[in-house]
Symmetry: D2
Subunit: 402 residues, 4 copies
Amino acid sequence: MTARTAAPVPTLGVGMVGYSFMGAVHSQAWRTAGRFFDLPMAPEMVALCGRDATAVAAAASRFGWAGHETDWKALLTRDDIHLVDVCTPGDTHAEIAIAALEAGKHVMCEKPLANSVAEAVEMVQAAEAAQARGVRSMVAFNYRRIPAVALARKLVVEGRIGTVRHVRAQYLQDWIVDPEFPLVWRLQKDKAGSGALGDVGAHVIDLAQHVTGLSISSVSGLTTTFITERPLPAQGPTTGLTASAAEGAPTTGTVTVDDAALFITRFEGGAVGSFEATRFATGRKNTIRLEVNGSEGSLVFDFEFMNELQFHDRNEDPDTAGFRRIIVTEPSHPYVGAWWPPGHGLGYEHTFTHEVVDLVTAIGRGQDPTPSFADGLQVQTVLAAVERSAAEGTWQDVVVPS
Amino acid sequence: MTARTAAPVPTLGVGMVGYSFMGAVHSQAWRTAGRFFDLPMAPEMVALCGRDATAVAAAASRFGWAGHETDWKALLTRDDIHLVDVCTPGDTHAEIAIAALEAGKHVMCEKPLANSVAEAVEMVQAAEAAQARGVRSMVAFNYRRIPAVALARKLVVEGRIGTVRHVRAQYLQDWIVDPEFPLVWRLQKDKAGSGALGDVGAHVIDLAQHVTGLSISSVSGLTTTFITERPLPAQGPTTGLTASAAEGAPTTGTVTVDDAALFITRFEGGAVGSFEATRFATGRKNTIRLEVNGSEGSLVFDFEFMNELQFHDRNEDPDTAGFRRIIVTEPSHPYVGAWWPPGHGLGYEHTFTHEVVDLVTAIGRGQDPTPSFADGLQVQTVLAAVERSAAEGTWQDVVVPS
Amino acid sequence: MTARTAAPVPTLGVGMVGYSFMGAVHSQAWRTAGRFFDLPMAPEMVALCGRDATAVAAAASRFGWAGHETDWKALLTRDDIHLVDVCTPGDTHAEIAIAALEAGKHVMCEKPLANSVAEAVEMVQAAEAAQARGVRSMVAFNYRRIPAVALARKLVVEGRIGTVRHVRAQYLQDWIVDPEFPLVWRLQKDKAGSGALGDVGAHVIDLAQHVTGLSISSVSGLTTTFITERPLPAQGPTTGLTASAAEGAPTTGTVTVDDAALFITRFEGGAVGSFEATRFATGRKNTIRLEVNGSEGSLVFDFEFMNELQFHDRNEDPDTAGFRRIIVTEPSHPYVGAWWPPGHGLGYEHTFTHEVVDLVTAIGRGQDPTPSFADGLQVQTVLAAVERSAAEGTWQDVVVPS
Amino acid sequence: MTARTAAPVPTLGVGMVGYSFMGAVHSQAWRTAGRFFDLPMAPEMVALCGRDATAVAAAASRFGWAGHETDWKALLTRDDIHLVDVCTPGDTHAEIAIAALEAGKHVMCEKPLANSVAEAVEMVQAAEAAQARGVRSMVAFNYRRIPAVALARKLVVEGRIGTVRHVRAQYLQDWIVDPEFPLVWRLQKDKAGSGALGDVGAHVIDLAQHVTGLSISSVSGLTTTFITERPLPAQGPTTGLTASAAEGAPTTGTVTVDDAALFITRFEGGAVGSFEATRFATGRKNTIRLEVNGSEGSLVFDFEFMNELQFHDRNEDPDTAGFRRIIVTEPSHPYVGAWWPPGHGLGYEHTFTHEVVDLVTAIGRGQDPTPSFADGLQVQTVLAAVERSAAEGTWQDVVVPS
């Protein structure tokens, strides 16, 4: 909040691929991070990349990028670009990220890391090879950077909830409840890899494992597709979440991904979990809930109240024990000191700003940011185990390929 | 609320077995139902039965029973007793209920109906045989009788939420998080049949099926016991939920039931569900939550707010759509007209009063009350399928024996 | 919850006047108190009194009273009646209560104590005279007996919130928002004394002063009547809250009480308060809220969540400080041990049961119950000061006549 | 969210005075508005002004201002500055704003408009004179620009709540509960004009009047200062909200403003209101609440849940009526379409971005933005009436000087 005299720092040239929803919010993060946080490098928004020259030029201007490209490979040959931010659909992550790493560019890659475990393994190999050359990579699980979530992690690390017993994690949306909602790319397996499972389930898998510090060891799950045929979008599958139903669409197409995925899990150490990811929770717009019960206390996070964390301490006097609604806007709370006085909440986009802050800080310090591509692979492996379990009707161990 | 002139109605003599937690609350229900509701028969609290003569005499006096017995079989031979209310641990349900039905007594039996499917099958056979003679039976899933739950069922029947897609059901307690909590009867398989699964999981299985009107067709579940050895109670396994740790207990015993059970389900018609029953949700005292998402709307119930129902109507103008917090205390709401003005909430015990009302009304009208023993068997079958699934690691169909 | 062997105790014969809303709920309290609490005297429901012989006989039967009377004076001459419970409209409180006290009967009197300060002064004088003869009296501010409110008081006494700075108290209803709602007795000054101010404002004045332990020293207030003409009820002003609009009522009448009263206050010791009582808070059925902010902490109570108390402790680590939602259902919480296990909430009527418990306990122990008639007079004096302030447009000191 | 091709638009050069809390958040708004909204002019952050050359230079660099000045008068002579944004303490608003308007600069001025009615009158006169020359002015009541508040206003305009009866408005903070918190400028009458009343009370006065469309016609209020002596800050009164207690401060000073202000109001048309502004609501960090009850419905806003609006519609079927929690993140909601998909909430700073959007849009279209300086004067007049009422102990009419 207070202006600080910043010593000159080296520039970090950024090129970004993709300019839809994720591109817009990443742009805001790149523009904003250095205004509130002291960064060891100064991000420079060098070029935005997209296939449609007119559209990408307009987006670059709108979002504050100095230039634009229509071929992502062009980013890799530019000396003024040191980092590539991959905001495209999942089917292109592996190709772009691996090439960028090989070209010596740091990479931030949207989640899920890839559309398959096999791709993710290759990406990890590329990341590890790059790391040896000082080239960094990170997968963008932005919800880790909510102050309330970071506080939850801190309380777990401090032992405030003791041994974890229960995890309850849900990511609930409802944007395709209408059967007339068209067949956008997120509903097509070849583009998106999976449906609710990979798109939003990946987030809560990461959240649950990150906050508890525990890995899921086995899963039993189901996936389902409630509406299997949908109208084709007016001009073929569109991008974005909010495409309106194509009027007069002549044909329909088949939904090839899950509408919802439910799974129960065992964690290393004996905790158990219940997970759900769905696009059919009518009335739930973007509800992300995580509850963790431990031997000494409990934590509850709900993204509808993103500036809050609920905490129950079992060691309190029973007369006054209860879930506390911590408003996570105190100067001592993670990330918060850089922003506003207590009680003045942050929003969705701040999670991305914090992500950029952590990434740039790690690069500037010569450290590896987290979550790593390996972390992304681990989540991908859980997703694959859920799909396998759903297909075979049995429990599946989560075995991360090496 | 208003006094009404009641025409003389026949007496319904009641004998009750058990006088612990359930006995206390059933007594309150028998005492109270006729004070607020017009019943077709007048319940008379004839005799309370328990093995310890001194204790049961004191309890009878305290709870308002005219007499007492020390052998439940004595209730069956008394002409002034027309109904037997079974409030004992699950291992005795079958014997008492079947004998009572055969003796021509109506039976209300606490849940879960039995400790095994086999027992439940026998009870259903006895109930059906008795029914032919005009003898009625009911299993006591009291939470159905919360006005908010009854309203939820009504809205489903009216089509307000359309085709059900998702069920989320949790019953969370924390009364045995402390490892020093002793090995009470509810933690022993021979007495209790199962742990959290049968004790509280049975409630949410019934709630979910009742509200949606859909049966669970298959399950995949896990059960776990976090603390396997506990101190023995001072004088052997005690009754009740609130026994304090036995000081200086010389030995420990093995917990033979589940501490927690998690399962995912498929319902007939394509809906999917996620269920959890646990005694290890630190800070959750008696949290019962049910969320149902349908094609046209959603419903949310939370027992911590038992006088409320949340309802989302998808067909509202998006500008003003949202989950409504319905305070279920209007005269037109189920059961509520008999009580207080709007906004004056009911409590836990009222669910039992309503249960008595529904039971006595059915008997008086010569109808079969619900839920029937067959409904109880169906829940028992789901419980067994969860246990089998947990043991075998595969999905299990719910096949109710006939 | 557990049956206890009760030693024989003396009988306390009760006669009650009035059998509408308050009569129904008081009856439930008299029937129930001894079933859950160990009382030093055994209440006996001897006679119910009302002017209409047929109706009162039916009510007596329905509510569980052994007999009935049509003249309240008859109660005073009966030897088997030791206590008179006054549940009539406010215009008769003084006459009945004073006569009963003079006849040597203990008295419980509904709130507000009287319809004027002058009447209340006479009642206090009668109460003090009676007290010298061992005859007890209490005014029925039932909301004090909510466990969460009793806990709030306990925390204040223990110093957990320090010096009180702010009180925020609201009693919000909406039952006369409809202009067609008829002119029931509660809307007529000669019967009811005042409108929202005395009916529900009295409750929050008592609550605020009781919880903080501080008296209001001066007030500035306004009263307003939004709808001044209403249809007459079909058969003259009726009793109860829920009379439906009289169809075809030929004439209308003038509302002579306030629809809403707002006032700000100074308390002894420097705290300040904001109060509101209204019947026009659309959507608020019976919302009672009290927030107290002190130098060391804060408390929040909301009757819509009557089994909860929110507590903020300023001395907590800021990282984890927050309002705690205490579910006031632990065995150690006030009144709760007599009822159900943790998490099984109570309802509106339990406040009256607790009132009876406290009253009978005091009488049995030869002590004066609280709140006394003098406490009722003090509240009446605050009400009068608000009315005077509203009339004169200036601050008014609260000076209790002696 | 989607990039749009923007036609070239004229530049709007901005100079801003002040770089503390408000300066930081205004800078973020100026940087961000054009990235998400189509503006008819392109804001250019020309110069930041502050007295300390080193500090202001650092702030300008940090916040993204092209240049800096140490004398605000310098801004007025620069041709590249078309608008002056006044973010200083209240004692300088009048001088700067009037001079800027006279110099032909558009002005945005932080609230409260001035430290006295007299100053505010002069500012209105200057604004009206400037308006005749096409020079625009606005007072910065940012909370109007919360989407949920804008939706509330929209529903009132549409008649969804009918005739307003009740307003309940609170602005609760607790940042000076600690007696060791130092005597910052906000606690000094000569700098700040008043305490909680003007600082945060002004916000809720504006909110309440804006949402209802009704003016406060008379008030009765009290103000109080709980802690009258405080340590002096280490280096004289500091800026900002979060100064920590000066260790070892040799002397103390007197608090010359109110810690809290409570007032009740009458609105034109018969509605009544209850207002509270305080810095002593322990545990309340920045709680802003507004409830409006009308003849047809009710609205509730709470800044702790800034992405929500609660709405009750009295004309609903009573069976399903209830306060709806509208998550105000739909594309059709005010301001929201420019941001993220449904369910992805905004934060505090967005209110300022929206403020800039509305201001620049009005200037670009040759219209007067709202709220005007006259609106600011009206709020100032209410503040003065509250202070006068508190001093004299009587009701005061709100008479806006012309």
